[in-house]
């Protein structure tokens, strides 16, 4: 192989990219990873909490060794309207739920892990085009015009990936498929956060602070991140909300939130798109789309990083199998890739929960959503809403099958609805000293 020829070329060092690079290197492949930013995690990637229900998968155990900001054990939801504030406190069970991280630190660590495994990494290098020959994607072109060839190209360049766009797989999206998110990071100091948030993430629902999403506050070590936004449909922006920042402004000024942030200062602002739909076709001859580039994200559940890790790893495995048989056709790539995805119970169950909840959210007013969540949140929030909705619809339509479905799903979800001490034990063994 000459200098610019690789087994696998990977674009994007967010979540999926380093995971794919590390796996591919471990499988003995010659691999190069490109990232446009100077420090991985500093472009608009966002995302802060890693879900323990996914990290217990052996493929992801190593991620517990990364730099963690805060261990999350509880969840609080506030419903605030003119008349009253209702607070729901959800602790699915005693134990560790999520790991709160800072992407600039965490992604940078992850890239180092990929390097240690043998991957070559080029930072500050933007990929601007793909090389296609004889119906196959054969490589990529950098912003300086340099060409790099790979038997398989893995697209891990996120929501607007230019790789997937050039390959004709990523379309333009808006309406109820795309969410525009604004975030701010508020510095409060570790002690204040311990006092006001502790190990708890918070969700808020109140008129004027969101458009069919779920505003949140995720505590890190000495900062907290707030996020809100909405589906990019015709009702997102209007005279009252000329701009997405207006939702954030109202959010910051909710009395309950204001009090929690008292004395703090905004140290960063962010703006992100998040896709909420499957990308129809995720492989092409010589190319695999992973993570958010492949539509593997569930914005409504704040879930996308772990899906990106899984799909990055699976793409590396698919590339290895293709290389072994010297067959880089989309059929060959899909064979391994789609099988591994369909066998991942975490991804399948969370997709189901998200689909049911999205349907509910899109068809109801914010007020109705508040009411709906009040009925179900005590039993476990989004998970029980998925069960509850099926169940109630079944009762309404006298459809025993839907009720049975709901029941079966509840059984299937059991391991995820409660937090197994297994995650906490694993994490304690693995975490940095």
């Amino acid at each position: 192989m000459s200098n610019n020829e690789y087994d696998v070329v990977i674009v994007g060092a967010g979540c999926a990219g380093p995971a794919a690079a590390k796996k591919a290197a471990e499988l003995g492949l010659k691999v190069i990873l490109f990232e446009k930013s100077q420090v991985p995690g500093e472009k608009n990637v966002s995302g802060t909490c890693l879900n323990g229900a996914a990290l217990v998968d052996p493929d992801l155990h190593y991620l517990m060794e990364g730099p963690v900001e805060r261990e999350i054990r509880e969840m609080r939801t506030y419903h605030i309207n003119k008349d009253r504030t209702t607070v729901f406190h959800e602790i699915p069970s005693e134990g560790l739920l999520l790991l709160s991280i800072r992407r600039d630190h965490y992604d940078a660590w992850h890239v180092e892990e990929a390097k240690k495994a043998g991957a070559e990494v080029r930072l500050s290098t933007t990929i601007l085009d793909i090389i296609e020959e004889d119906g196959y994607v054969k490589g990529v072109v950098t912003d300086t015009g340099e060409k790099f060839y790979g038997k398989v190209v893995i697209d891990a360049a996120g929501v607007n990936s230019i790789v997937g766009r050039k390959a004709g797989l990523i379309p333009k999206r808006k309406g109820t498929n795309m969410i525009l998110y604004v975030t701010v990071c508020v510095e409060l100091g570790e002690e204040v956060i311990n006092e006001r948030f502790g190990d708890c993430i918070e969700y808020y629902l109140s008129p004027g602070i969101q458009h069919k999403t779920w505003p949140w506050i995720f505590p890190k070590k000495d900062t907290v991140t707030l996020g809100t936004g909405g589906y990019m449909d015709e009702n997102l922006l209007n005279d009252e909300f000329p701009n997405i920042n207006k939702y954030m402004e109202n959010y910051l000024n909710l009395p309950a939130v204001k009090k929690k942030l008292e004395g703090g200062k905004i140290v960063a602002w962010g703006l992100h798109l998040e896709y909420d739909e499957k990308i129809k076709q995720r492989v092409k001859n010589g190319l695999i789309l992973t993570g958010e580039a492949g539509g593997f994200v569930i914005p409504f559940l704040g879930e996308g990083m772990v899906e990106a890790y899984f799909t990055g790893i699976y793409a590396a495995q698919a590339a290895a199998n293709a290389i072994e048989t010297n067959d880089f056709s989309k059929e060959k790539l899909a064979e391994t890739y789609e099988t591994l995805i369909s066998e991942n119970l975490f991804m399948q169950t969370f997709r189901h929960i998200a689909a049911v909840n999205k349907e509910a959210i899109l068809t109801k007013t914010d007020e109705e959503i508040t009411q709906m969540m009040q009925q179900v949140i005590m039993g476990g929030g989004f998970i029980s809403n998925a069960v509850h909705t099926n169940w109630m619809n079944g009762v309404e339509d006298q459809d025993m099958e839907r009720i049975q479905d709901a029941y079966d799903f509840l059984e299937l979800m059991k391991p995820y609805a409660q937090v197994d001490p297994y995650f906490e034990n694993l994490y304690n063994e693995r975490k940095r000293k």
Partner: protein, 86 residues
């Protein structure tokens, strides 16, 4: 708390990574409406990405333009927006 936009940029020339295709642009203004950073400004009958140095590379303008009038590329390696804290 007073809302504030605090955003950092890497030094260096990003290049003209967002452009308008003049003959496709109908002047509908959707790009400007969805751009949180006021990059897109009216210029006669069309819109142009004028304040590109304020762009945060979110891609909203490209996604919402129904007339394929937005060229949305990437800034040169190591330049453009930088979100500390990720």
């Amino acid at each position: 708390m007073k809302f504030e936009i605090k955003v950092e940029y890497y030094p260096g020339d990003t290049g003209e990574f967002i452009k308008v295709i003049e003959e496709n642009c109908t002047g509908c203004g959707d790009c400007a409406k969805f751009c949180t950073r006021d990059v897109w400004q009216p210029d006669g009958a069309i819109y142009r990405p004028v304040n590109l140095k304020d762009c945060v590379e979110c891609g909203a303008c490209w996604n919402v333009c129904e007339f394929d009038a937005v060229i949305f590329n990437e800034p040169k390696g190591g330049t453009g927006v930088r979100f500390e804290y990720g």
